[in-house]
């Protein structure tokens, strides 16, 4: 089995969010970048488990500049056989999807795994777009993935429940919480990661369909209004008369 896990870079969950260049650029100064948690905790670890249990060949795929290598090495320290980085500073979800699809189009694989979304742009789009470009079956938000008799059996999250799905390889799946548990790389893994191949491939030209106009920050809350815990009639009054939500 050939498994490809796509990993992306995102600012740390607790990173300060600020913008420069008249609110058109994310201010990266002092920001710690991490592997997108949905990619790392769920897609990547499930890929590693398939490598261990099913003897899958596991490749990590990233679209980004050389500064992303630190994140790719972390992935290789958790598992995988090799990694590929498509060398570009991605402009949009569409750009990332086109880069991944053009790399994959002449490769053989059974499964491409993504995290369900990134924690910076929250788009949930890249996996779906790759499936659209390559005309492959796509299942999103899978919280469980098993391999049985040549098929993948998935739990897909739906509002208030789950769908159980069977899909044949090759396919594209996005992973949600529940698919696997986070792993911390150990010293042996970190040493081994240094000798695993990391191939850098050139990017293809893509067209811009969508461009960023500007960022903005939400209006700050005016501050919490504290209510006496003995006087819940007052809270009810505020919710009704002031906030008008009940």
């Amino acid at each position: 089995m050939e498994v490809i896990v796509c990993i992306s870079k995102s600012p740390d969950t607790t990173a300060r969010i600020a913008f420069t260049d008249q609110n058109t650029k994310y201010d990266e100064q002092g920001v710690q970048f991490i592997m997108n948690p949905f990619d790392e905790f769920y897609a990547l670890v499930r890929g590693v488990e398939l490598q261990e249990k099913e003897g899958a060949q596991l490749t990590f795929l990233n679209v980004g500049p050389a500064s992303n290598d630190i994140i790719i090495r972390k992935a290789l320290a958790i598992g995988g056989n090799k990694a590929v980085r498509i060398d570009t500073e991605p402009k949009s979800a569409w750009d990332v999807a086109k880069q991944i699809a053009s790399y994959l189009k002449d490769k053989t694989f059974d499964l491409v795994l993504f995290g369900k979304e990134t924690i910076d742009y929250n788009g949930s789009e890249v996996g779906a777009m790759v499936a659209g470009i390559l005309d492959l079956p796509f299942v999103s938000n899978a919280s469980k993935l098993e391999f049985e008799n040549g098929n993948f059996i998935l739990n897909r999250d739906i509002e208030g429940g789950i769908e159980k799905i069977r899909v044949a390889a090759p396919c594209i799946i996005s992973a949600a919480k529940g698919m696997a548990e986070q792993r911390i790389p150990n010293m042996r893994g970190i040493m081994m990661a240094k000798t695993k191949p990391l191939e850098v491939v050139p990017a293809v030209e893509t067209e811009d369909l969508v461009e960023l106009v500007s960022y903005s920050l939400p209006v700050e809350k005016s501050g919490v209004k504290l209510v006496d815990p003995e006087n819940m009639d007052e809270l009810v009054r505020l919710l009704s008369e002031e906030a008008k939500v009940i």
């Binding site: 948690p37 739906i158 208030g160 106009v213 920050l217 809350k221």
Partner: protein, 317 residues
Amino acid sequence: MNILVFADHINGQFKKTAFESVSYASRVAKSNNGICTAVVLGKMNDPAKLSGFGANKILEVPYDGKFSSNVYSSVLMELANRENAELVVVSHDLNGKSIAGLLAAKWGAGSVTGVVSMPEFHNDGMDVVKGVFSAKAYARYRIKSAKKVISVMPNAFPPEEVGGDANIESVNISIPADRIEVLSVERAEGKVPLPEADIVVSGGRGLKGPENWHLLEDLATTIGGVLACSRPVADVDWRPHNEHVGQTGIVIRPKLYIAVGISGAIQHLAGVNNSKVIVVINKDPEAPFYKAADYGVVGDLFEVVPRLNEALKKYLK
């Protein structure tokens, strides 16, 4: 500008997000002298309902399969072409999310997902705003391609009843062969899905154990709210995984979010920060959640929650 909008349903009943999407699409169509065409796949109890939310035309696609993002996106693309639509609108719920990117890629459209604004039109494109950095900022994007796809955030645009008498047409379309098979569907029946709830009552570790959840159940029943929980509570199985709101769980934007015994870690806030009004009940005055709250009650939840429940009963009577 003609608009195609996908109206999703569960076993023949429209989702609330279907009305929201149709209402949104019809407002955009109206201000651009276009036609708003709603698409329904499968058997619906009452497709005409959509005309009440402003659809000018309703297309019924005969389909007896289950949800498939590949099939649905192919059907929407074919119908968008037939109707000369420039924009396709879906909801940013779990089905819509898995359709949007596929449809955009197949159709060659520019797309923005999780939209929280009405579109603004410019010479070189259409602007929409979406939340980014897990609810900590917004980004305005311009879609410059002729074909456009957007998914609209649930609970961001209340459906507006405008009345109307749209034609319902059954369309003749060949359904592409599907490569996924839905083996079974498990869904809690009769429950409002969390992303659609107007009022959410949520509990954290402060409740000390699942046996105390009756306090929140009572409060939710009184106020007509839906139950949710923080991640640690779902992780130790006090409550089911599908009640977990937060960054890795479900992202919600209700009118009222009542957080009981939840400290308000940044990952939790990422899932609830867009609630219109947040009430925090916690015994720790230093809980970070108070910074994001509109109203706070510093006190013992085991006393405060029953007291609030009684006060609400009195008010709602």
